[in-house]
Amino acid sequence: MMTLLGISPQLLFGQLLIGLINGVFYAMMSLGVAIIFGMLRIGNFVHGAQYMLGAFGAWYLLHLPDLFPGLGLPSLGYWWALALVPFAVGLIGAGMERLFIRRVYDLEHAYGLLLTVGLAMVIEGLFNVGYGAAGQQYNIPDSLKGGVNLGFMFMPYYRLWVIVAGIAVCIATWYTIERTKLGAYLRAATENPDLVRAFGINVPRMLMLTYAFGVGLAGLAGVMAAPIYQVSPQMGQSIIITIFAVVVIGGMGSISGAIFTGLMLGMIEGLTKVFWPQASTTVIFVIMAIVLVFRPAGLFGKETVAAHAADMSTARPDSILENGKLWLVILGVGGAILPFLVYPVFGMKMLCLALFACAYNLIFGYVGLLAFGHAAFYGSSAYIAAYTAASWGFPTEIAILSGVAVATVIGALFGWLAIRRQGLYFAMITLALAQVVYFYAIQAPWTHGEDGIQSVPRGYLLGVIDLSDNMNMYYFVLAIFLIGFAAIYRIVRSPFGQVLKSIRENEPRAISLGYSTERFKLLAFTLSAMLAGLAGGTKAIVFQIASLADVYFMTSTDALLMTLIGGVGTLLGPVVGAVIVVTMQKEFATLGSWVIVVQGTAFVLCVLFLRKGVVGTLEDWLAARAERRRIAAGGEPAAIARGAH
C-alpha cells in the first residue's frame, strides 16, 4: 500500500474529507455571522444556538407523531426539514430581532454581544433542561444512503451532498450580496442608513430581514449537520467560538473571504488531526493568533477603522459611591462580620468572585475594552496554584503567587495579541485565545481532564496559621480581597489611571497628546489578568480544587454578568454584582439546569432595562436628588449655570 509520510491515504483523505465538511459548516456559519456583523454591527453570539435550533427543528419534524400524538401528523423527513426549518429558524430570528436586538443598535457594540450571549444562554439552557447533555440520533435520508468508492477512499453520498450544497449556498449568498441590486441596498444601508432611508427604503425592515437571513443560514447548516453530528443542546456552543475565530482570521468586510477562510480552516483542522491529533482542537485559534500578529485586519479584511473604546462607565468621580478609602473601611468591617451571618465558605466564594469581577471591571469598565476571556487567567492561576500546592508542596501563599505569575504572563501575551483591535473584535479574539487555554487544560495530563486537580491542601499561612479552619481561611481571603480592591482603586486613581480615563473618553485625542495608547491598554490588561489570577488562585485553595469549569468560557461570562449587574466602571459595581450573582446561583442551585436559563435571562434583562447596573442606577438617583436639593435651596439648574459666563 502506498503511504505518505507514513500515513495511509485512506486516513489522510478521510480526515481531509471530514475537514472539508467541517469547513462547509464553518463557511456557512461564519458567512451568517459576517453578514450580521457587517450589516447590523451585532456580534451574534446566539448564532450557535440558532444552528442548534436548525438541527432540533429537523429532529422535531421527523418525530412529529411522537411529539403530538393523536393529531395524526405525519413524520416529515430530511427534505421537508431542509425546505421548512431554515424558514422557521429565520422567522424565530426575525422575532428575536424585533423583540430584542433592535433595541441595542444605537448602543455601544458591547451591549449587542452581551444581549446575544444572554439569548444563547436562555435557548441552550432551555434545551439542556429538556434533553440533557445526551445527543439525539438523526439518520441520513434514504435517498442519500450509501456512497461511492473513489479508489483511494470511500465517499458517502450524504457527505458529498453536504459539500456540494453547502458551497452552492455560500456562492449564491455571495452573489446576492456582491452582485445584485438588493445586495447593493444592503451594503449601502450599512454605510449610511439615513441616506438609504431617504430613497424610500424601509431600513428597519431590511435590517430585520438581514438578521433573519443570517439566522436562516445557521438553521440550514443545523439541518445539514443533523445527520452528521449528534443533535444536542451543546452543539452550537462549541462551534460558535470557532466561528468567531474564523471571522477574525478572514477579516471584516469580505463575504468571499469568510467563505474561503471557513473552508480552508476546516481542511487545515482535518490535516492537523492526521499529523498532530492533540493540536486539532486548538489549531484554528493558533492560526488566529499568527494572523493577528502579521495581518491584524485579517486575511481578507480591509484597512481597519480605528474604533473608539466603549465608554460604558456610569460613575461620577466625586460621588460618595466612588470614595475608595471610605468603602475599603466599610467593606473591611462588613467583611469581618459576614462569616457570623453566612456560612464562611459561601462568604469566601463571594469574595473570590467579587475580586474576579473587580479585576475584570478594570479593563472593561475603566479602559472600555470588552474582554471576553478572563476565564483563561482565573482558571490558569487556579490550576497552577492547585498543582504547586498539591504536587510540589508549595506553601499556600507561594502557590497562589505562582498562579498569579502565570496568569500575568498569559495576560501579557494575550493582551499583546488582542490589543490592536477594539470593540467586538477584541471580544472575539480574547474569547478565542481563552479557548486555547481551555483545550490545553482538557488535554494536558497534569490538569487531570474532567476530574481536575482535587484535594488541594489549604496549608498553613506563613507556616503558622492553619487554613483548614474555615474562619482562618476566610479572614485570609478577606485580606486578599481588600488588597486587590485597594490595588484597583489605586490603579484607577493614579497618573496611569488618569491616562486610562483619557483613552476611554477620547482615544484619538490621547494619541494626539503623545500617548502610545496601546501600551497603556496593554499594561491595564495585564494588571487585570494578574488580579483575575489572584482571585482564581485563591479560589483553588479555598475550594481545594481546580477544574475545567474555571477555564470554561462561562466563567468569563460570569465576570461580565457580575460587572454588568453591579454597574460597569463603578468602584462598587462588581462587588454588588458578585453578591447578587453568587446569591442567585445559590438560591437557584436546586433548579439544576435552569440556572443557566435564569442567568441568561438576567443578562437579557440587564442589557434591556438595567444597563447602568445597580450602582449606576443608584448613582443617577443620588445625582438627581442632589440636584433637586440644590435647586430647592435657590441654585440654578446645572446645565444653565454651566452655560453662563
Binding site: S494, P495, N506, P508, Y515, T517, L523
Partner: protein, 256 residues
C-alpha cells in the same frame, strides 16, 4: 536623503510629493509644502480639497501613499502618531477634542502629565500630580477658563470647549501647532476671542491651520496655501492669494 542645508533650516515642515490615495481616489496628490518657522500658515480651499487629509498625513493619523515629510530636517514619514506628537507636532481637531467627563483642570493636566514621566506609574496616588496645578492654572488663565477649572468639561459651552482644547494643546509646548478649523461652528464673539488667542500663542511657535473663515485667515496668516482637488493651487500672502485668478475661480467665485 541629504542633510538639511541652511536654507532648509528655516522650514519646520517640508513635505515632498505627498500623496494619499483612497481606493484609487487621490485625496492629496503630489503636494510639496514648506512651513516656515514661527509663521502662521493657513491652508484654505473648497470643501473636499484635501485639507483635513493633509493634516492627517502630517500628524501621521494617515500614512501617505507616497512622499516624505520632514520635521526640523528629520524624516518622520514612518513614525507613529503618538511619536510625532512627542516630537512637538500637536494638533487640534475639527470637532472639539476634549475629555468630556474629566474636569477642565484634568483636561489640561493630562497633557502636562506626560513629560513628568510617571504616566505608567499605576502605584502612585493621583495627588502626585498636584505639582502640576500651578501650570494648569496658568494655562487656564491664558484662555480665560480659570474660574471654571473644576467644572466637568462636557458642560462647557461650545466656544469654551475650543478654548479648553487649545489650552490642552498648548500645555504640550508644541513647536508646531496644527489647528483644524479652530473657529468652525463658533459665533462672532467667540471667533474673535479664539483668533486673538491664536495670535497670542503664536509667539515663538509655528502654527499651521486649516480655516474656512477668510477674515480670520486674512488677519492671522503670513502665508496661505490654497488647495484644490488635492493639489496646491497657489501660495502667497493674503493680498497675493485674493487677487489670484485661479483661486477666485476655484474657490471664492466657485463655491462661496
Amino acid at each position: 536623503m541629504s542633510a538639511p542645508d541652511n536654507n532648509q533650516a528655516d522650514n519646520i515642515i517640508e513635505a515632498r510629493g505627498l500623496t494619499k490615495r483612497f481606493h484609487g481616489f487621490a485625496a492629496v496628490s503630489e503636494v510639496d509644502l514648506d512651513v516656515r518657522r514661527h509663521a502662521i500658515h493657513a491652508l484654505i480651499g473648497p470643501n473636499g480639497a484635501g485639507k483635513t487629509t493633509f493634516f492627517n498625513l502630517i500628524t501621521k493619523v494617515l500614512q501617505p501613499t507616497e512622499g516624505t515629510i520632514r520635521f526640523n530636517g528629520r524624516d518622520i514619514t514612518a513614525e507613529s502618531p503618538a511619536a510625532v506628537a512627542r516630537r512637538g507636532i500637536v494638533r487640534s481637531f475639527q470637532i472639539s477634542a476634549i475629555f468630556p467627563r474629566m474636569t477642565v483642570a484634568e483636561n489640561v493636566r493630562i497633557a502636562l502629565q506626560r513629560p513628568v514621566g510617571t504616566s505608567f506609574h499605576f502605584w502612585r496616588p493621583e495627588s502626585s500630580l498636584d505639582t502640576l496645578n500651578g501650570r494648569v492654572d496658568e494655562l487656564l488663565d491664558a484662555v480665560g477658563l480659570l474660574s471654571l477649572r473644576d467644572q466637568t468639561a462636557a458642560g462647557l459651552p461650545y466656544g469654551r470647549k475650543r478654548a479648553l482644547e487649545l489650552a490642552t494643546t498648548l500645555a504640550l509646548e508644541p513647536e508646531l501647532l496644527l489647528l483644524d478649523e479652530p473657529t468652525s461652528g463658533l459665533g462672532g464673539e467667540d471667533v474673535d476671542r479664539i483668533a486673538d488667542l491664536i495670535r497670542k500663542v503664536s509667539a515663538n511657535r509655528t502654527i499651521l491651520m486649516v480655516e474656512h473663515n477668510l477674515s480670520v485667515v486674512s488677519k492671522l496668516a503670513n502665508t496661505i496655501t490654497v488647495l484644490a482637488r488635492g493639489k496646491v493651487l497657489a501660495e502667497g500672502t493674503y493680498a497675493q492669494i485674493s487677487t489670484d485668478q485661479r483661486v477666485i475661480e476655484a474657490y471664492i467665485g466657485g463655491e462661496e
